[in-house]
Amino acid sequence: MGKFNKGAKKEMPALNSSSMPDIVFAILFFFMVTTTMRSETLMVRMKLPTASEVQKLEKKSLVTYINIGPPMEVRLGTGTQMQLNDRFAQVSEIQDYIAQEKASMNEADQPLMTVSIKADEDTRMQYITDVKQALRQAYALKISYSARQGQN
């Protein structure tokens, strides 16, 4: 028991922190590798619907996004709008958009292209159906209705 408080005036040895930058660099590299920069700023407001049976979309490079919802800026009204690549677009522009996205892809990956429809839960189905028909015409047949994982 007398082990403690015996030597009394011993100085506390300085903690060797020379490996700290190494550790921090390791974490840094992890984040640098895993990160994907947000390439587009959202211009539409959307609250995704919840669903319990969702599947994760595996490869991000194969996914093309279509954002649907009322615009963020109030002065643009509350009507449903669609955002493709940083700007508002009409349904008729989907075919060009898909063709353009497909062209920028590796040829082997093109049949695996998935279109993720990220739509606000209050959107009317008419709009979604129009988008779906346009996607069919553009031969982008793999789609995913984006939803949050949740109790439903």
Partner: protein, 209 residues
């Protein structure tokens, strides 16, 4: 010039940690880890010719799930129909039979009823063998133009849930483990046993606005 062997002074690296921390915080902030998830579907290819746009399906092989403008759901086949007013009822609250149980009954047709899809014997390979399945069944999800997306997804989710439960049961029955733990080939076998045959029809205006 006198030659002096001077020592190189040690570089002060104490600020290295600060710099790397700064970088680390930057990447922490800009990275978004969230993976996109959703209900995967396959659309039919666009119609090649104008006339050939519809496929004939026998009445007994068809389960129609109708979502109207008031976000109410009706499920109907030869066996009978059921009406759901809210999302809670879809999941089977109160006296209603949940939509997923309706779908499961329809897909399985265990009683070999004449009102449910016809059973055909098919070979699915090693542990499953030759079993009767309803290979021709189709679940047709139809919606109105003013149906809300939320309800539509809720209905889709229930149908997918029915299939997932069937596959889980199949995995337990034939492989004695859960579907998650099966190998890719075994999962494909189960998927072939219970293929998702969901058709998303074009919308019709059933009234409403």
């Amino acid at each position: 010039m006198a030659k002096t062997s001077r020592k190189v002074p040690a570089l002060n690296a104490s600020s290295m940690a600060d710099i790397s921390f700064l970088l680390l915080t930057f990447f922490l902030l800009v990275s978004n880890m969230d993976v996109d998830s959703g209900l995967a579907r396959r659309l039919p290819p666009p119609p090649q010719t104008e006339e050939q746009t519809s496929v004939d399906v026998q009445r007994r092989n068809l389960l129609v799930v109708l979502v109207n403008a008031g976000n109410e759901t009706m499920v109907q086949n030869q066996h009978g129909s059921e009406w759901y007013a809210t999302a809670e009822e879809l999941r089977g609250s109160g006296s209603k039979v949940a939509l997923k149980d309706k779908v499961k009954e329809f897909v399985l047709n265990t009683s070999n009823s004449a009102d449910l899809p016809e059973l055909t014997e098919e070979d699915f390979g090693a542990p499953i063998g030759i079993v009767p399945v309803t290979a021709q069944h189709v679940i047709s999800i139809q919606n109105d133009a003013t149906t809300s997306y939320k309800t539509y997804i809720a209905v889709q989710n229930e149908v997918v849930r029915a299939y997932n439960e069937l596959r889980e049961e199949g995995a337990r029955k034939y492989f004695n483990t859960s579907y998650e733990e099966l190998t890719k080939e075994q999962q494909d076998q189960i998927n072939e046993l219970y293929p998702q045959r969901i058709s998303e029809a074009e919308p019709k205006n059933y009234g409403g606005q």
